[in-house]
């Protein structure tokens, strides 16, 4: 039984990633007063299949000047770390791969590991644009990592546990979005930067850097970066749902439906942000991170801890 759950939970993000290609293109198109891909199959869903056939049959080329081993390793890392984070997410009371007592730390560790993928890809490509993208990615992700963790400490304080399942259980009365709104906002922005989605897609920044760290990639290796990005979006959305919106909790409908609906909502929010916000300059991004979000998350942590202490005494 457990093996079915494990396989299901690990395959779901991959299938979801493929469907997200379609969802993102359709939803983005609707936001921009277009239709998006609506020709292949019902609602244009066949585009998923077509895209997969295309990306699997494309020439898989490794540039002769690239660092071969690292070049191949890099796209695998982002998918592996993404899927590893999925393992700790409790989907319902019963469904979930594992329930680590340090689940939250595990998630943060895995998302930090994801940086390696981008940095190594930029490095191994041996191309100046790729390297610039990799450099940006490392600076951006390392600095946003700091208060991504800090912003979640408020939740940990309230729940009294690092286990994601216990954090969800602690939200039975009130979702943590209410007492931890600031923490949610910071985590959301950091999560956006962590998955390097627009508006924080400076590592790719196709207007300036060709395609950033994956300039030299083609075929399924390029596809892996996209799968990794979509798995990242799914994971960050799932974490937001788990940490701030009560996970599977909800009236009437079964837990898995609630989890799916909340997950879908945040994925759509991610896409809406992509459609609406411009990309900041890199120094603006760093300044915003260190000068605004870091103090805010520290403040959030101190105030939450202080209030909890006051209530206890």
């Amino acid at each position: 039984m457990q093996i079915v759950v494990v396989l299901g939970v690990l395959n779901a993000p991959l299938i979801l990633a493929a469907l997200l290609i379609w969802l993102e293109r359709r939803f983005l198109a609707l936001l921009q007063d277009r239709y998006g891909p609506n020709r292949v199959g019902p609602l244009g869903l066949g585009i998923v299949l077509a895209d997969m056939i295309k990306i699997f049959t494309k020439e898989d080329w490794i540039p002769p000047f690239a660092d071969r081993a690292v070049f191949i390793l890099a796209p695998a890392v982002i998918v592996v770390t993404g899927l590893m984070s999925v393992a700790v997410i409790p989907i319902t009371e019963t469904i979930g791969v594992t329930d680590l007592n340090i689940g939250l730390l595990f998630f943060l560790a895995m998302s930090s590991m994801g940086v390696y993928s981008v940095v190594l890809a930029g490095w191994a490509s041996n191309n100046k644009y790729a390297l610039l993208g990799g450099l940006r990615a490392s600076a951006q992700m390392v600095s946003y990592e700091v208060f991504m963790g800090l912003s979640l400490m408020g939740v940990v304080l309230l729940a009294g546990s690092f286990s994601l399942r216990e954090i969800v259980e602690a939200q039975r009365d009130v979702w943590f979005i209410v007492p931890q709104f600031l923490g949610f906002a910071i985590f959301f922005i950091a999560g956006l930067a962590e998955t390097h989605r627009l508006p924080f897609d400076l590592p790719e920044a196709e207007a300036e850097l060709v395609a950033g760290f994956h300039s030299e990639y083609s075929g399924m290796k390029f596809g892996m970066f996209f799968v990794g990005e979509y798995v990242g979006v799914t994971v960050v959305s799932a974490m937001i749902v788990t940490l701030f919106f009560g996970g599977w909790m909800g009236p009437v409908l079964p837990g898995i439906v609630w989890f799916g609906l909340k997950l879908l909502f945040f994925i759509l929010v991610f896409i809406t942000l992509r459609a609406s916000l411009p990309r900041p300059r890199f120094d603006q991004l760093m300044a915003f991170g260190w000068k605004v979000l870091l103090p805010l998350s520290l403040l959030n942590l101190v105030v939450t801890a202080g209030v909890l202490l006051l209530l206890k005494t």
Binding site: A29, L30, L31, D33, Y35, T272, L273, A275, S276, L277
Partner: protein
């Protein structure tokens, strides 16, 4: 910060707008009558060819895609013996239409000219000539021009006075 939230909200509201996309093969876009598409040769209201073979279109064409050979009928009317437009070269600039003194060559709103074979984009006179008058229904060049053809002497055109007999002294 506030402007960003407003932007997101505005973009979100666009979700409920009708897409502006025209779903082309099923849904045809409206094209104005003077749209510059496929070139045709029109006829005058009496059903004769308007083209008088003056070569002005061919001369005006910036990509030299028009070729023709003028001929003359027994009644004195000029006409093109053959007329050829290479649509794989044509840039649909409309200069031929502007140059044409008889409204013979006209551009139509038809733009669906795709073909798999380059040779079949070379249109001959039989492909170009239509049975109607195109955009100028009443116009007939030989009725308004002072040129004499058989069946119409000098001075017989519309709004044309009889020629002055310069050899007579009487007013």
């Amino acid at each position: 910060m506030l402007s960003m939230l407003r932007t997101i909200w505005t973009v979100f509201l666009h979700l409920f707008r009708r897409p502006v996309t025209v779903q082309y093969p099923e849904e045809k876009p409206y094209l104005p009558p003077r749209y510059r598409g496929r070139i045709i040769l029109s006829r005058d209201p009496d059903g004769d060819e308007r083209c008088v073979g003056c070569y002005l279109c061919s001369a005006a064409c910036p990509v030299d895609c028009i070729a023709l050979q003028a001929g003359e009928r027994e009644d004195g009317r000029r006409y093109p013996e053959w007329f050829r437009i290479n649509f794989s070269r044509c840039i649909f600039c409309g200069l031929c239409e502007e140059a044409c003194p008889t409204y013979a060559i006209q551009l139509t709103p038809d733009f669906e000219l795709c073909d798999f074979d380059r040779q079949s984009l070379v249109y001959e006179k039989k492909d170009l000539l239509i049975d109607g008058t195109g955009k100028y229904p009443g116009y007939n060049f030989y009725r308004v021009a002072g040129l004499a053809i058989s069946g119409k002497d000098k001075g017989a055109s519309e709004n044309e006075d009889k020629p002055v007999d310069v050899k007579s002294l009487l007013p």
